[in-house]
């Protein structure tokens, strides 16, 4: 059983359609899992159900051995940190320091301990220099880093990112992806990331693909993103390496399926050195 275990989950916002339709998947402790799917496929709803922000209609969610129900809700929330898409919607404090302190204050952490926790977590997202800055003077990427520090301060075991990079510019995207990867590798946190970013998917351990509120594929990035036809059906972006491999095949060169360009170029080099 994984640290997140979702079984036969069901949910709908209204009576006309099922947003989540019998979804089951499992996330192993310490892994980096990505959830992919087009807008409206049910990705964000799944994240909110797992964090207990929405109430499921059927099925079960077990987090670290605890069944998600009204008795366990607060215990489970203390294990999960979630970062959302819009950097401007989740900045509460008047300065970076206040913002990171928000959760700690709610948990009545004593002042002397609080300073230390704030400093440690600002350091983890490289925002120490900005502790007294106001949000209006921060870039989107910086605000998202503060949001991450804020949830880290609560010492979660699981971090959920709901398209945390999709509203950022390329530089901000890179910053956040590096921070997430660093947290995963150094602190061994379990990461569940909802994303459209093909590079982030390629670097993850496990992929869950949703379409129309159902799990349509699970597996390694290679298994899920190796199938161009399925990707198109799911309205997902096809990695350039797959498109190029298809053109190569038309030109008479058959290659393996690669989800990165590096992999494909390496294979092409092997055929070349045989000439």
């Amino acid at each position: 059983m994984g640290i997140i275990d979702v079984r036969n989950l069901n949910f709908s916002y209204d009576e006309t359609s099922k947003t989540i339709n019998d979804v089951s998947f499992s996330v192993e402790k310490g892994t980096y899992t990505t959830i992919v799917g087009h807008n409206g496929s049910g990705k964000s709803t799944v994240a909110k159900l797992i964090a207990g922000l929405l109430e499921k209609e059927g099925g079960s969610i077990v987090i670290d051995g605890l069944e998600l129900n009204i008795e366990n809700l607060y215990k489970i929330r203390s294990k999960i940190g979630i970062v959302f898409q819009n950097p401007d919607n989740q900045f509460i404090g008047s300065t970076v320091r206040d913002d990171i302190a928000f959760g700690l204050e709610n948990h009545c952490v004593p002042q002397e301990k609080m300073d230390e926790i704030i400093n440690t977590n600002a350091e983890k997202v490289r925002m120490t220099k900005y502790l007294d800055h106001e949000p209006t003077h921060l870039s989107g990427g910086q605000k998202q880093r503060v949001a991450i520090a804020g949830v880290l301060a609560m010492k979660p075991d699981i971090l959920i990112f709901d398209e945390a990079t999709s509203m950022l510019d390329p530089q901000g995207k890179d910053e956040i992806k590096k921070v997430i990867r660093g947290l995963h590798e150094e602190s061994g946190l379990t990461i569940l990331s909802i994303t459209h970013d093909i590079d982030e998917v390629a670097g993850s351990d496990y992929v869950v693909a949703l379409d129309g509120g159902k799990v349509v594929m699970t597996g390694t990035p290679h298994e899920v993103f190796g199938d161009e036809q399925k990707l198109r059906q799911m309205k997902l972006d096809v990695p350039f390496s797959l498109k190029f491999a298809r053109e190569l095949a038309k030109a008479g060169v058959k290659t393996d399926k690669h989800i990165t360009m590096e992999g494909l170029v390496e294979e092409l080099c092997r055929y070349r050195s045989n000439m």
């Binding site: 510019d169 053109e247 190569l248 170029v265």
Partner: protein
Amino acid sequence: MPISFEHVGHTYSVGTPFEYAALKDVNLDIREGKITAIIGMTGSGKSTLVQHLNALLLPTEGTIRILDRTITAGEKPKKLKSLRKDVGLVFQFPEYQLFEETVLKDVAFGPKNFGATEDEAAQRAAKALKQVGLPADIAKKSPLELSGGQKRRTAIAGILAMDPQILVLDEPTAGLDPAGTAVMMELFRTLNKEYGKTILIVTHDMEQVFRYCDDVVVVADGTIRTKMEVKDFFRDSSLCKSMNILPPALIRMKDMLTEKGFEIPEEIDDIKSLAECVAGQVNHG
């Protein structure tokens, strides 16, 4: 040239401790009937530049010519209302600005403001909804009932209903998934090719610039760093690299192959020719 900037500068909060020169000595010509991409890092001055295009901001230095109007720093500008009809500006996340009870009313708001009768405005709105590819039955719905992509198209229709000659869009695909992005970019291509609109798009996505745009303008530190045709801009990756821009996948692939000793001619700019070129250099069936 429908738009030209001559020595344009814009300084915010002149004479205060917050004085900040967001644009400095900008010289720029935008070609008519083309799709021009405006790229640059956050804080480079792109948004300030774009807001000059329909005189939401006025230059503090220099002269801007837009269609038949001239806006000179320090002089009282004329005919601004008609300028705002001719240059439609679509902000980031325009769907946040929908406010009417129905889609049709929301789209008809602009033309009515510019003096169209109720009937005319409704007709223009219906036409604009068709242009952005929304089905007719959506017109009577509340904007709140629409999906994210439909809301955004409704907001764009609201600008198109004023029948602008120039359409300026600030990151029109931000937050959309790949399929939604493709639909949106195809829409701009149609508006450009079939309806003859001159289009300017602020974007961070180099794949979009590469696939859909004719010209590219790079803004850096409040000035125009480069302006050229997209096909020249991406001829190789050196320009991109010098400006810290991730080139499109095809250009990165060309680079990687060249680095590994493949002979890839500079002028290849489509995936099919690149595949054929590589196929000729490997020994594999």
